[in-house]
Symmetry: C2
Subunit: 272 residues, 2 copies
């Protein structure tokens, strides 16, 4: 049975993390996730599918237990048939929080996409279960997921590869390891394909805690770069040849260090 004290009609938090979140020292992001999920009463299920290391699930279970969570699970889903197992679905439905680890986001989309597990994650989040995902687990939250692209600052035609993600949130496209891997170019390219998308670039050890009103707060030691191209005056995307530097006029840029906030629906940045 789903936990009655957390599930309701209000969407749970969606928490994409830019990878390399602090696991040893102050653990600010993971700790805040645990608190949202109910602290010691939380039930956290880890899905380590993106990772190809056998111990990733157990490692996160141990971290959450050290943060005081009494009940943790890990679902060792490594192929599509695993993502149909009724016992895994039963476990998942007990969760107050779901955590998807890093690794390769194409493993997430190819193994989980369209399965009962993916459907259940969407349903549970809509009912109030909190979702956090780091690195690949962050990329997958958006409907349009970045799987690769050019590094640097200047966007190019063909400078990003997109694939369908899990779609917990529309209208955003999420990138991670953002400052560390110099990914502005590919996020600008993604947003230029269709400026209705808001680009969210997450630094390592930095997370967007997105609430049910689609307002998020930046948490962690880095920053979140927000690209809003909705007021764009000109883009050369449609005319440019593959690899050409793009011309983009009037892009709005926000850099949100810890405490900075952004309203996705209203496209407004502020400090609380």
């Amino acid at each position: 049975m789903p936990s009655p004290d957390i599930q309701g009609t209000q969407r749970g938090y969606v928490i994409p993390i830019g990878g390399a979140e602090d696991k040893l020292d102050n653990q600010e992001i993971l700790n805040k996730f645990v608190e949202l999920c109910g602290g010691s009463e939380a039930v956290i299920t880890v899905i380590p599918t993106a990772s190809q290391l056998d111990d990733t699930g157990a490692r996160y279970q141990k971290i959450f237990e050290e943060l005081g969570v009494k009940t943790t699970y890990s679902l060792p889903i490594t192929e599509r048939s695993d993502a149909q197992k009724p016992e895994y679905l039963t476990t998942l439905e007990k969760s107050t929080g779901i955590f998807i680890t890093g690794g390769n986001q194409l493993r997430l989309s190819t193994i989980l996409g369209g399965t009962p597990i993916a459907q259940s994650i969407r349903k549970l989040n809509a009912q109030g279960v909190h979702y956090a995902g780091t690195s690949a687990g962050a990329a997958i939250v958006s409907q349009h997921m970045i799987t690769g692209g050019s590094t640097g600052i200047v966007p190019t035609e063909n400078g990003v590869n997109l694939a369908p993600g899990m779609g917990l949130i529309n209208t955003i496209v999420v990138d991670q390891h953002f400052n560390q891997r110099n990914r502005l170019a590919r996020l600008l390219s993604a947003v230029s394909y269709n400026p209705f998308l808001i680009g969210i670039g997450l630094d390592e050890d930095t997370a967007a805690f997105i609430d049910h009103n689609n307002v998020f707060t930046s948490v962690g030691s880095g920053a979140i770069t927000v690209i809003d191209a909705s007021d764009i005056k000109y883009s050369s995307m449609a005319e440019a040849r593959s690899g050409d530097a793009l011309t983009l006029l009037n892009v709005k840029l926000h850099i949100l260090a810890a405490g900075g906030r952004f309203d996705i629906s209203e496209r407004k940045a502020y400090v609380s």
Copy 2:
């Protein structure tokens, strides 16, 4: 005597180049500079002071001669006393174009700063002589010159070092090798110190041809990134501690590939 057909009351072009301009193949930037200076009738003086290689001046003289310029000079200024020599000033005043090479911009500011040569460059440019400078020679054109700083995307308090430049143009701060060396962070830091500055990030083989109306056109194979912080809603610069990621809300960003234009006085980007 200054060339009478080029000097007047209208400022000459100021042409910062992002470094590594094409010298072998189409030479678009250097060729356009030569045309502005009078083509075969141009008189181009190279100042290789930033470089510590003995042949830099001669190398650029050869390039300009291969582009059809009959008269070229190089001034081997390597210390402050050289920058006072009357014979160098006499040569400089014959120029229709002045070209400052790459190297270390602190050599330019420490050796040329406040000397008769620097005063003459400013005066000649104000009278119509064109100025082009690549890499260090580009950095020096602004009044506030970037000499170092953090790489990456996210700006930090203390993330850039500034020094006084030659000041051919006010209200801009120029950075070079921009996409190649991931310098958005330091340009954002520079602009955050005082948002009256417009940040101009020049990719390699890319130049801003700034006319006497302070309107520039992007020329070359890369792009020019323009940062306009004049409408900024919030900056944490004044409160942040050294090294902290900054929060910056409502920065305007333009990416100008070849043909893109920007009006520095009006702070408006457009395509011609």
